[in-house]
């Protein structure tokens, strides 16, 4: 029974994808979206039932469908494992996916490729389910690459748009951004593959249970190498520095895609990997600390760029990046369950935030610049509430989900004695509150900064707003389930509890974070609640420009990687391959031809000439014979 549910949860999205693909080239059919959404809901229901089953029995469900690859001593099955960790991911993924699917019926209603969109979106969910449910590293890699391709298809969904100069569109074009995402992820995937190879040649298997059981017998250097290689893989999918540039460019995709893939699910795959492979990472404190330090850095780094950005979606993308940093910080410090909890809570409120942003875009005719919005509160009351709730949760204001999950991460940093990390995370919490509310105020408060004579913003369809409500509800209440969640997942994950010392200081610590969070909101309110006052001097300052240009990292990559690679390729082809390698071959051929042509002159038909040549030849042969006789 439970085994069937596993297959239903896994294959319902696949069925939805195939069904939609049947109509992929025909004009919009609303029922395609409805069927795909229903199948997603079925998958969600199956996942929720499985969650309840795992919760009530405490036992994992493990199924092996068939063998996949078997060569030499390597055997990889298609096996699926539903335990506390994977069932959490499955439930979160299918819940957010269902909401996003229903949302897309409304959001994509004018798109001529409506059916194709659902095909891709469901295919993505299927890949994501493989990723989280697989019982071995190779199966995880299937899902890993599968979500990568779906992400490529969906970022480049509006492939017909032309490339623009970077000054006009920092992401150049959807197809450019899609290729960038794919290639950057491939760099990380190589690291991941190497991790798999290390594990295989030291353990002899890629099955999670076998590998994790073998961890105590492995040497430190092997474990470090494996952990580092796996984490490089995680850095690509979760867009950690320096492989982060693709995530903001991925905003070229339709907004539901950003909500689902580039906020709630796929980008958290790296965090999931670290949590899943926690026995390896627990055994490698150096690598884990590196993860925590990098995560903390990215949290601050991304938040700093969000402070000045004007693009509605990019601000949220930076915030996603920043929150992923928080998750890695927690996972790196050994608080795996807290990382997983923040992952889930973040999925709810960030998806909500993105979908809200989608409503705004829909209303504003595709406009993304928050400097050209303002005063939308009246026309879009529900969206305002949703985005407000999501931002409160993101900022970590009490009772909202983010307060519990983010605060726990910050406390963990304190508890571990890594005070520098703690301080950075607290500061980042303040910045998060500021940029979140800067966005809310600039979008919804003040006076309209768009041309009201031509643009009449309108609220999103009612069914879309209703579909979003589960996310809003969870963004508010998810935090109250923290204790229950802890008991549930720590049956599998190592428990992490604060020391007594931290426990005593908990009110102080919470208060410090709150001061920063409320301070950030207050600052944003002061500056932006009553409309936008441009500060030319500030906007022209070096720091502002540095942040607005993402520290010039995309430009740096273009100048120092992309362009030299193209130049070198051109050089390799024209100068090396043509002028050296091929020219040598042709040179040998020409030499033979010319020498043949030259010696042809010997054929004079004159007998005495021939005799001369013959005599010369005989002498030469004699000399050769004499020399070889002497040598031997």
């Amino acid at each position: 029974m439970m085994e069937n549910l596993v297959y239903i949860a896994l294959f319902a999205p696949f069925a939805g994808s195939l069904f939609s693909a049947l109509f992929g080239m025909s004009p919009k059919q609303t029922f395609v979206g409805i069927v795909a959404s229903s199948l997603l809901f079925i998958s969600f229901a199956a996942s929720a039932t499985l969650a309840y089953h795992v919760y009530s029995t405490g036992a994992a469900v493990h199924v092996t469908m068939m063998e996949w690859i078997s060569a030499g001593d390597l055997t990889i099955p298609f096996g699926f494992l539903v335990d506390q960790v994977s069932v959490t991911m499955m439930t979160v993924v299918t819940l957010v996916s269902t909401v996003v699917h229903i949302y897309s019926i409304g959001y994509m209603d004018h798109d001529k490729s409506f059916n194709r969109f659902f095909s891709y979106l469901s295919a993505f969910v299927f890949s994501m389910m493989i990723l989280v449910m697989s019982d071995n590293f190779a199966g995880l890699f299937i899902g890993w690459e599968g979500v990568g391709v779906c992400s490529w298809l969906l970022i480049g969904f509006w492939y017909h748009k032309a490339d623009q100069p970077r000054e006009e569109n920092p992401s150049i074009s959807p197809s450019w951004a899609a290729n960038e995402a794919f290639i950057v992820n491939r760099i990380a995937d190589l690291g991941m593959l190497v991790g798999l190879f290390i594990i295989y040649w030291n353990v002899g298997s890629l099955q999670y249970d076998v590998v994790f059981a073998a961890v105590p017998e492995l040497s430190g250097s092997v474990l470090n190498a494996a952990a580092l290689a796996l984490f490089i893989g995680a850095m690509g999918k979760s867009a950690q520095f320096p492989l982060h540039t693709w995530l903001t460019d991925a905003m070229e995709g339709p907004t539901p895609v950003s909500a689902l893939i580039h906020a709630a699910t796929m980008v958290t795959a790296g965090v999931f990997l670290v949590i899943r492979a926690n026995p390896i990472f627990s055994a490698t404190p150096e690598v884990s600390f590196f993860i925590a330090a990098l995560g903390t850095f990215v949290a601050l780094f991304a938040a700093s760029m969000a402070l000045v950005n004007r693009d509605l979606k990019r601000i949220i993308a930076f915030s996603t990046l920043s929150q992923l940093g928080y998750m890695f910080a927690a996972a790196g410090l050994g608080a795996y369950w807290i990382a997983l909890f923040h992952l889930a809570a973040h999925a709810f409120f960030k998806a909500l935030l993105f979908l809200g942003a989608g409503n705004v875009m829909h209303a504003m005719d595709g406009e993304l610049d928050i400097f050209k919005m303002g005063g939308l509160k009246k026309a879009m009351n529900w969206t305002y509430i949703y985005m407000g709730v999501a931002s409160l949760a993101l900022a970590g204001i009490p009772v909202f989900a983010g307060f519990f999950s983010k605060d726990a991460i910050i406390e963990t940093a304190f508890n571990e004695g890594t005070y520098v990390l703690w301080a950075i995370l607290v500061l980042t919490a303040g910045m998060t509150a500021f940029y979140s509310f800067r966005q809310v105020f600039l979008t919804f408060h003040g006076k309209a900064r768009y041309d009201e004579s031509t643009l009449h913003p309108h609220e999103m369809y009612k069914f879309v707003l209703i579909a979003m409500s589960p996310l809003a509800l969870l963004a508010v209440i998810a935090g109250f389930f923290m204790g229950g969640f802890q008991t549930f997942v720590t049956k599998l994950l190592p428990d992490y509890v604060m020391s007594d010392h931290t426990h005593h200081l908990i009110w102080v610590l919470t208060a410090v974070v709150l001061v920063f969070a409320v301070g950030g909101i207050w600052l944003a309110y002061k500056k932006y609640a009553n409309g936008l006052k441009r500060d030319e001097e500030l906007e022209n300052s070096f720091i502002y420009k540095l942040l607005a240009n993402q520290y010039y990292i995309p430009q740096f990559y273009e100048e120092f990687i992309t362009k030299p690679y193209a130049m070198l390729s051109e050089h390799m082809w024209k100068d090396v391959d043509m002028k050296i390698v091929d020219a040598t071959v042709d040179g040998i051929a020409k030499f033979l031809y010319k020498s043949g042509d030259g010696t042809r002159k010997m054929q004079t038909g004159n007998l005495s000439n021939y005799l001369n040549w013959m005599a010369l030849g005989s002498v030469l042969l004699l000399v050769v014979a004499a020399i070889s006789a002497m040598l031997s």
């Binding site: 992929g24 080239m25 068939m66 063998e67 996949w68 690859i69 078997s70 060569a71 030499g72 001593d73 390597l74 190779a138 890699f141 299937i142 690459e145 599968g146 391709v149 480049g156 492939y159 017909h160 748009k161 032309a162 490339d163 074009s173 197809s175 450019w176 290729n179 794919f182 290639i183 491939r186 760099i187 995937d189 190589l190 593959l193 190497v194 798999l196 190879f197 290390i198 295989y200 040649w201 690679y565 193209a566 070198l568 390729s569 051109e570 390799m572 082809w573 024209k574 090396v576 391959d577 390698v581 091929d582 040598t584 071959v585 051929a589």
Partner: protein, 508 residues
Amino acid sequence: MDNILSVLVFFPAIAGLLGFVVNKDSARAYGITVAAIEFFLSLWLWLSFDSSNAGMQFVELIPLIPDMGIGYYVGVDGISLFIILMATLMTLIGMMSMTITKNIKNMIITLLFLEMTMIGVFVALDAIIFYLFWELSLVPMLYIIGAWGGPLRVYASVKFFLYTFTGSLIMLVGMLFMAYVYHNLTGVWSFAITDWYSLVLPVNYQLWLFAAFFFGFAIKVPMFPFHTWLPYAHGQAPTIGSVILAAVLLKMGTYGFVRFSLPMFPDASVMMITPIAILAIIMIIYTAMVAYAQKDIKQVIAYSSVSHMGIIMLGIFAMNAEGISGSVFQMLSHGIVSGALFMLVGVIYDRRHTKLMSEFGGLASVMPKYAVIFGIMLMASVGLPLTIGFVGEFLVLLGFYQVSPIMTILAGTSIIIGAIYMLAVYKKTFFGPVTNEANKTLKDLDSKETWSLIPLVLIVIWLGVYPKPVLEPIDNSVKAMVSFMHEKAITQEAKDMIKVAKTDKGGF
């Protein structure tokens, strides 16, 4: 049927001869029928093949020159079986999709003759028979490129012929020397490959012989720096020529390494791991970069072929079953995928008579079906899991990791740079707005094109999801070969390097 291999080899040739009396208008139908029968015969071969038997099956031996130990000696094992199937399949599909109308009868006869030589190479167990088919395969390809090719066709075909022929001659010298050594050591003459296997040679002999065979195989593969004939050949060849060349003819080289070099010269092979791996890595990285610089879609695919052949070479020298099985599987995968990609380039060339990427852009809007199939083949080419391209590439890299982590990481960059040039092709050709007026009215795939490509799409997905029916027989034969090599090796280094699988059942 005991002599199914002989039927497979000579049926297309005899049918080809009969083709001379077939009416010109029905030549195409005739060719497709013959190729289809041949394909079903090869499927039958697979059905009657005993997967659990790692040794040679369907063996036929007819002594031809008993005094010299030369005989008509053929057989098939897990390693050669699927290459034969791929050869018959690609010949059939290539013919089905063919759009050539000029001298169609000659083309059909040539292709059938070529089919004989290809199958002959992969079933031959006698070195002379092997050599005969090996060299004979040059003639039809020379004719296909020279008669139906582009403007530089004569240069390209002569270059292809002379270059590979030179390599083969060095290989022939190696074969004669091998027979001579065999005679010296055993007192009898034999050109039977299985007899040669049993010969344990001193290391310096092994090295010289390895080198002689190396030139024959390496030029065929083609390995860097012997690869420059390939872009010309592909650039000038008609679609059908490129399909067969990439799918089957190149595999003759890598197959030669597996069939001859490894089991005959295990010590020399182990000693040559590093130099060959370096060449293979240069092939992978360098030609992938050159591919990125190309302006012509077909040239990109041609150079990408060299890059992928580098992966295959690397796997052969992994000296473990994971790597070698992966390598043989990758031969099939590359055959199907590059064959399909060349057919896809042919589709657009037929419509626009140009292959330059700058002429296109936005084709996904006008030719959606074409874009989908191209996209699937692209993903298979870059080794996406659950497509045929992943299995081989993954196993090769996994296998070679045991030999050298650093070199594996270098070779593994193929998953990055492969994506770079393929995605660049896709973006320039299919994405963006339709800017060129000539592209606005292009017709999507017609039924002939669709039905030639659909089987390949199905195979790409089927063998990506469930490679077992193919991989298992390959792996059995490879495991047996590896343990044989381990047994036979005389140096300690070679014995240490050649890893016998724990699950080996023997039977080589």
